[in-house]
């Protein structure tokens, strides 16, 4: 990297410009990545953290079931079919209803009620037919404490405990029993007949014949991860943000490739001279790639650090998740894609003819 470092020092304006572009794109990607992860967490964390391998969706009557929490209902018969399926270790009905709850301070807040049988593994301590467990953010936003009473369509419910944050479709989750959830749903008049639950959560062995159970019960099963897209708007929201990230990655590779292509063309005279003096193509390629790596490491490193700083501050007001996956990974991907762009750009070094260094034409 003898020439690489000296070139950067010599053309510091041009490299600073390129580095700034890398900084800004990396900053954008880190922010977008943190926001995507934060928003996804607000959308599906309660489903994602359920202790189940699969979720089972049903439909009213003989309708064809779809992968949608909004449209799904399951019956006791379907539960029985699934419980009797070989390889299925546990079946737990789960009721899900988004509603508004009143607080002692006379305010109202949106929340999603998750109703589970009292003996279900996911039920947090403090849940009973008359008490609920609320997510920390709901408690903080509405200044609720254990013992406070929430007014719901099914009457008043006592806050039995406050637990870690879980979200469903951008609303905090309130945990209660399945019976209380059914009362709430009935009181809200959602359908003539109250179903057993919204979905079944299933813990199944790998060899379990899920498709046979689906056929017998007229249900649609999906893995826990695969069922996240059944949360309304999650797929489109997450997909849009991921698309933006992918486009930014592609843009970064193209921008870096374009810059280095122009740069390589500009210095092809120097490359010809160094080749004529005996520099091998490998030496010159390594030198050029090292130059790219220096710019990418500095730019992506600074951009990543700026992203962490901005993300930390933004995390107070927007759902932003700061993890290795949302910070270090984008930086590494940025560097890797930048190097791909660089490799494509500097490969023209191989075709520079040392003969052009001779004569007055240079």
């Amino acid at each position: 990297m003898f020439v690489a470092i000296r070139d950067i020092r010599f053309a510091r304006g041009r490299f600073a410009l390129m580095g700034s572009v890398v900084v800004l794109i990396t900053l954008l990607i880190v922010l977008l990545s943190g926001l995507t992860s934060g928003l996804a967490d607000r959308s599906v964390s309660a489903v994602r953290n359920l202790p189940a391998t699969h979720l089972v969706f049903g439909a009213v009557g003989n309708e064809r079931p779809e992968k949608s929490f909004a449209d799904s209902t399951v019956t006791a018969r379907q539960r029985t079919v699934w419980e009797n399926t070989p390889g299925v270790r546990r079946v737990t009905p789960l009721g899900i209803t988004t509603t508004r709850v009143g607080t002692p301070a006379e305010s109202e807040a949106s929340a999603t009620v998750f109703g589970l049988p009292p003996d279900a593994p996911a039920v947090p301590a403090g849940t009973s037919d008359s008490s609920v467990v609320i997510s920390r953010s709901l408690a903080e936003d509405q200044q609720l404490a254990t013992g406070d009473r929430l007014s719901t369509a099914a009457g008043e419910l006592r806050v039995g405990a406050i637990t870690s944050d879980e979200f469903y479709s951008h609303t905090p989750v309130i945990w209660t029993t399945l019976d209380t959830w059914r009362e709430l749903r009935a009181a809200r008049g959602a359908g003539a007949e109250t179903p057993l639950a919204t979905v079944l959560t299933v813990d199944a062995a790998p060899e379990a014949r899920l498709s046979e159970a689906d056929s017998a019960a007229n249900t649609l099963s999906a893995t826990r991860g695969g069922s996240l897209e059944a949360v309304g708007s999650f797929s489109s929201e997450n997909g849009s943000l991921l698309m933006m990230q992918l486009l930014l990655y592609a843009i970064s590779a193209l921008v870096i490739g374009a810059f280095l292509t122009v740069w390589t063309i500009q210095r092809s005279g120097d490359v010809a001279v160094l080749k004529a003096l005996g520099g091998s193509t490998g030496y010159l390629l390594r030198d050029a790639l090292t130059q790219s790596l220096i710019v990418l490491l500095a730019g992506a490193g600074l951009g990543g650090a700026a992203g962490v700083a901005v993300g930390s501050a933004a995390g107070e007001v927007v759902p932003f998740e700061l993890t290795v996956r949302t910070t270090l990974m984008p930086v590494l991907v940025m560097i890797a894609l930048g190097m791909v762009g660089a490799a494509l750009a500097v490969r023209r070094i191989t075709s520079v003819e040392p003969l052009t260094a001779l004569g007055a034409g240079r």
Partner: protein, 222 residues
């Protein structure tokens, strides 16, 4: 080591016809000898130099540096031979804009895998040899035309080459500076025992050459 070109022919297509850039060219340059090759533009001087440097592969004949036949070498082996045994002084100085005078020399040492300290010491010493003491930190834009050409020569000498190929070194210089450059080439040829080929169309400096050959239409004559 001796530079020997034997029966060199070089042809290339130019539209419908075939151009004979070099025809049956043979010459021998001994260590410590400065051979001047003169001729008008388009006579084949630069082609001869390119073939001798291994930058062009002749269509006939052989080029030998000592016992090594360049025409049998390819790719990395040919680059290595140029790096370690052949020095080239370009017509234009062809210095890398981002490098200082010393670094122009150091980069070739770096390509040879020599240590930075060794390379620096040798660069400073060679720059002093060509009369550029104290100017090792200057980039090409802060050197005069003559000084750039001296750096060009010093760079070609870093490998302690057996063969020095010099392409029109006075083309961009005035009379006085041109004369000094040719004198310098004469000195280093003798001092380091190099077989030097000086290609020039300027006949005023031929008195410094040990021998002169003329080239016209790709054919050599004494």
């Amino acid at each position: 080591m001796t530079l020997r070109l034997h029966g060199i022919g070089l042809t290339y297509p130019d539209g419908e016809r075939t151009v004979h850039a070099l025809h049956e060219v043979s010459l021998r340059v001994e260590p410590g000898e400065l051979l001047a090759v003169t001729g008008p533009s388009g006579s084949g001087k630069s082609s001869l130099l390119a073939v001798a440097a291994g930058l062009l592969r002749p269509t006939a004949g052989s080029v030998r540096v000592g016992e090594t036949d360049l025409t049998g070498l390819r790719g990395a082996a040919l680059s290595r031979l140029r790096l370690n045994r052949i020095g080239i002084v370009f017509q234009q100085h062809n210095l890398v804009a981002s490098l200082t005078a010393a670094e122009q020399l150091q980069v070739t040492e770096h390509m040879r895998g020599r240590s930075a300290r060794q390379a620096r010491d040798r660069a400073v010493q060679l720059l002093a040899t060509v009369g550029l003491s104290g100017k090792q930190h200057r980039r090409p834009n802060r050197l005069s035309g003559g000084e750039r050409q001296r750096v060009n020569i010093a760079r070609a000498l870093t490998a302690r080459p057996e063969v020095l190929l010099v392409d029109e070194p006075t083309a961009a210089l005035d009379q006085e500076r041109g004369a000094r450059i040719v004198e310098l080439l004469r000195d280093v040829t003798g001092q380091y025992g190099i077989a030097t080929v000086l290609v020039t169309h300027d006949t005023q400096h031929l008195t410094h050459a040990d021998r002169t050959v003329a080239i016209r239409d790709g054919k050599l004559s004494e």
